[in-house]
């Protein structure tokens, strides 16, 4: 859609914020210049091969969600089988095992709202502090957080599990939510974004008018950060929605599983003796799991693409 913002244009839309409305204006100065390159059919075809690689599995998933368990076995993977069972599959996915899929969906939403929402909120506050305040230990905090990005997150999993189990947090939603609350990448992005999007004079003006720090933040700074917030929110949402390892080690009780863990259990169920083979539901459930995120990325693309572009300015 809109081309990402450039260095010479401000990283955020001015004042009150509808980046959607502003984006087309920003696109203007940037239209490609070096001799107006000719479009190339060859390059388009070659790039289409990469597109084919990325979409064929998704198409496969969509087609096979329309098949019954029997149809999966005896029809070609890239074409429909004789019976179209998509609606039955969707209904069965939601009702199988007393509607446990619905429960997993609600769990996932809970983890996303509290985990990703909380992570975004903490990143906004922290990024704002790093960008606009001088405080002792600031450089230290920044160094430690950036250094921590290089620590393999899963290396922390075992000790975190043991610590949480001592605190009695394992097998509760908190065991999944609390570790999701920290997003170093989100903090970094908000820091870059806040330093470029919020004019310090504006904050000074608000303070002179007698607004307290909290009020200044919520009424002056927050609206200016909108595209950055959408970006961080989307990426933390993906991280939480797609999380597998953390819930795998933290949760025993399948009542607290997120969708990812639940689908994996359904899939390995075929292996257990006497287990119900429900690959058609695994496939339909997978499709239902990815649709919300794909829709979010498609609908919000002008926000997050400009947010990402702003992040790369400082690199």
């Amino acid at each position: 859609m809109s081309s990402p913002l450039t260095t010479d244009s401000p990283a955020t839309p001015a004042k009150t914020s509808s980046p959607a409305r502003n984006a087309p204006r920003l696109r203007g100065p940037r239209r490609h210049t070096p001799g107006k390159p000719r479009r190339s059919l060859l390059l388009t075809v070659l790039t289409s091969l990469v597109v084919l690689y990325t979409v064929v599995p998704l198409i496969w998933l969509a087609i096979n969600a329309t098949k019954t368990q029997a149809g999966l076995a005896d029809s070609n993977g890239l074409w429909f089988s004789s019976d179209f069972a998509l609606w039955d599959n969707i209904r069965d996915t939601f009702t199988y095992d007393d509607g446990v899929f619905t429960r997993w969906l609600l769990n996932t939403l809970l983890y996303v709202v509290l985990g990703a929402g909380g992570a975004t909120f903490l990143a906004i506050l922290g990024g704002y502090a790093l960008a606009k305040f001088d405080f002792p230990g600031k450089r230290g905090i920044f160094a430690v957080v950036i250094g921590a990005v290089a620590v393999p997150g899963t290396a922390l999993a075992v000790p975190t599990f043991l610590m949480f189990s001592k605190m009695g947090l394992t097998d509760t939603p908190w065991a999944v939510i609390i570790p999701s609350l920290v997003s170093p990448f989100g903090l970094y992005l908000m820091w870059v974004f806040a330093s470029e999007a919020i004019p310090t004079e504006l904050l000074e003006a608000a303070r002179i008018d007698g607004a307290g720090e909290a009020r200044t933040f919520f009424t002056v700074a927050l609206p200016l950060l909108a595209p950055g917030i959408v970006t961080v929110l989307l990426f933390t949402t993906v991280a939480t929605w797609n999380n597998y390892f953390l819930p795998l080690i933290m949760l025993k009780d399948s009542d607290w599983y997120p969708l990812t863990l639940g689908l994996s259990v359904w899939n390995s169920q075929a292996e257990t003796i006497g287990g119900d083979v429900i690959f058609n539901l695994v496939i339909t459930g997978s499709l239902l799991t990815i649709l919300p995120l794909i829709a979010a990325f498609l609908l919000l693309q002008k926000y997050w693409q400009s947010g990402l572009a702003a992040g790369s300015v400082k690199e």
Partner: protein
């Protein structure tokens, strides 16, 4: 983001600040405090705890005893650990260059402005990033099937017999394909975003000098996005060394090919949750963490120096 700052200790203690500055410093903490608190709980505390754990051993007789670096010497002589590390190193050496190479080529093509329907390509290639590793692995796992999967369909349709992607010889490559599929678009977008902010005056100057497309790429574009290349490489190294989800989810389909010590991370997981060897598991995790950080740091130093 591309430079690690010196640790906090290096910062000189400021002289007693004026009253106003003092007030502001507290305000700053009010905003960053919550992040720092949670960060300490879920990052710093587990690191400290795992170092503590790695110095002890839990035995049936005698209970928990302090053993110093015994766990570390054990790990360094552990064939299972080295085999797992070898596997992810091979993965790293082959998969990462392929993935980043494709991502870079696509980003350069998109940036060249020579495609029809550019935004369609950009968003479509990025889409797999929104697909959870679980779904990606299940999907590819089904397609890999030689009986009912896509591989089976191809065998049937063309009367060929493709090798089983889930056999011990090929399963690492099959996992590499899944990981490439998941992250090629994400890396492409990082490169593309970096390419977009190169000042256009540079291209105009190059054009006046009569530089061709290839020359513009090697002399202007690649050096300009070196930071993004280094970051993407470091993240890919971290990702490869942490490999767990894909082999773990694929295992039910390939029991013979994927063992529970297939990757270092899978090994620590099995040690902890199947073997109850928490102390040894923490030791292996720390060793992997140190190896990862050292390699990431070396890549960063080299990447930043090259041509600078």
């Amino acid at each position: 983001m591309t430079t690690l700052q010196p640790p906090a200790a290096a910062e000189p203690r400021p002289a007693p600040p004026p009253a106003r500055r003092d007030r502001r410093s507290w305000t700053g903490w009010g905003f960053i405090g919550p992040f720092v608190a949670v960060f300490a709980l879920v990052f710093l505390a587990p690191i400290a705890y795992s170092i503590y754990l790695s110095l002890f051993r839990d035995q049936l007789i005698g209970g928990t005893t302090f053993v110093g670096v015994d766990n570390y010497t054990q790990a360094l002589k552990d064939d299972q650990f080295w085999a797992a590390l070898g596997r992810v190193s091979l993965f790293l050496a082959v998969q990462v260059p392929i993935m980043l190479g494709i991502a870079l080529l696509v980003a350069l093509v998109l940036d060249s402005g020579r495609l029809y329907g550019k935004s369609f390509f950009r968003i479509t290639i990025f889409l797999p990033y929104a697909v959870p590793a679980v779904v990606a692995t299940l999907m590819w796992g089904f397609m890999y099937g030689t009986k009912y999967g896509l591989v089976g369909d191809i065998n049937e349709a063309f009367g060929v017999s493709l090798p089983d992607p889930l056999s011990p010889d090929l399963v690492l490559a099959s996992i590499g394909n899944i990981v490439t599929w998941e992250f090629v678009g994400y890396n492409m977008l990082i490169f593309y975003s970096a390419l977009r902010v190169i000042p256009h005056s540079l291209y105009e100057a190059a054009e006046i000098d009569g530089a061709g497309q290839i020359r513009v790429i090697t002399a202007i574009k690649l050096p300009a996005i070196r930071g993004a290349l280094v970051i993407a490489t470091i993240f890919s190294i971290i990702g490869s060394f942490q490999l767990f989800n894909e082999p773990n989810i694929l295992r039910p389909l390939a029991r013979n090919a994927i063992t529970t010590d297939y990757t270092p991370n899978y090994y620590t997981y099995s040690l902890s949750f199947n073997g109850q060897q928490h102390n040894y598991s923490a030791t292996v995790a720390i060793i992997m963490g140190v190896i990862t950080m050292v390699i990431a740091y070396v890549v960063q130093l080299r990447g930043m120096r090259k041509g600078a």
